[in-house]
Amino acid sequence: MRRLVVWAATAAFALAVYLLLTLWSGSWGLWSLSELVVGAVLASIVGVACGGVLWERGGWRMLMPHRWLLLVLYIIPLFWAMARANVDVAWRVITGNIRPGIVRFDPGLKTELARTILANSITLTPGTLTVDVSDHSGAFYVHWINVTDDNPTPEDVCGAFPAWARRIAE
Amino acid sequence: MIAELPFTVAAVVLAGFMFVSVLRLAIGPTAADRAVALDTVNTLVVTTMVLLGAGLGQVVLVDVAIVYALLSFVSTLYIARYLEGGWG
């Protein structure tokens, strides 16, 4: 039963990407019949081959629609942080004013997906770059371009992002 | 009707930035520097291909850009594993 749901979810996702890529291919509709058949076959194969690898144990929670809504809303604070990050980097490129270091902090996230979201967000936001994530303790090692505190809390380094990652994926 | 020319011009400008990155690829003191420069060039190539797809009116170029993005990601992961030392 579990394997069937895993297969169906992975295949549905693969089919969605395929259908987006072949949009407007049909002469009478959005998709031609051959594209639909080929897409279904390919999506089934992808579901069999990758379902077990991509699907984390206990990953059911991502099937809840409100998490997807949060993931879309998350774009707004992320984009704002990216804009600030780029102005910040531009300023440092021009003035050469840096004080780098690698700091350790523990945001206390448990699932792989939450850690992935937080690590990628950290890389894109002001002055920080994820260097390593400890698998069993969940500690983040972050290269910080302007160290203001030798033993920072997660809020010092990346603001509200750990809370967002927890809301989306835990 | 909107002109296609600005997209081609932007693509040419990005190609110029690609040369700047290739400079770091040539002089970078360590292998990691070269790998970072290569990663930057890959991103610029993807963006340039999408811009050229709009500028020349060829959607195929955008498809090529998608495949290039995925392949360059895999090659970056392999280079990173090589930099780590050891293939384990």
Partner: protein, 112 residues
């Protein structure tokens, strides 16, 4: 509408150029990854965003195909770029490159 497209293209080119300059100007691998990844990702959002807008403004099937495919390329770029740079930073650190001018380095003493 044309002015908006030109503005998007100009901002995208500006940030992409900033990434290339950061690559030349920063002193060590980690700071170069900072500049290169952030600026090229952010610049690509604007450049490809201009293409998406252009495709939707065409209004027909060909323009729509262009817009959707460009959007998919943008999503792949946004997902793979930070992951790849994280892999490079980790590989560089484990390969023995120390951050230059570092004031603090928590990875040095007992970890893992």
């Amino acid at each position: 509408m044309n002015a908006l497209l030109y503005a998007l293209l100009a901002v995208g080119a500006l940030f992409n150029g900033l990434g290339a300059v950061a690559l030349l100007r920063f002193p060590d691998v980690y700071t170069r990854i900072h500049g290169a990844t952030k600026c090229t990702t952010f610049g690509s959002i604007f450049s490809i965003g201009a293409v998406v807008l252009y495709g939707f403004l065409q209004g027909d099937g060909a323009g729509g195909t262009l817009a959707v495919h460009a959007l998919i390329a943008l999503v792949f770029l946004l997902l793979t770029n930070p992951t790849g740079s994280h892999a490079l930073a980790r590989g560089a650190y484990r390969g023995g490159i120390k951050p230059a001018q570092a004031v603090v380095d928590h990875m040095e003493k007992g970890k893992r």
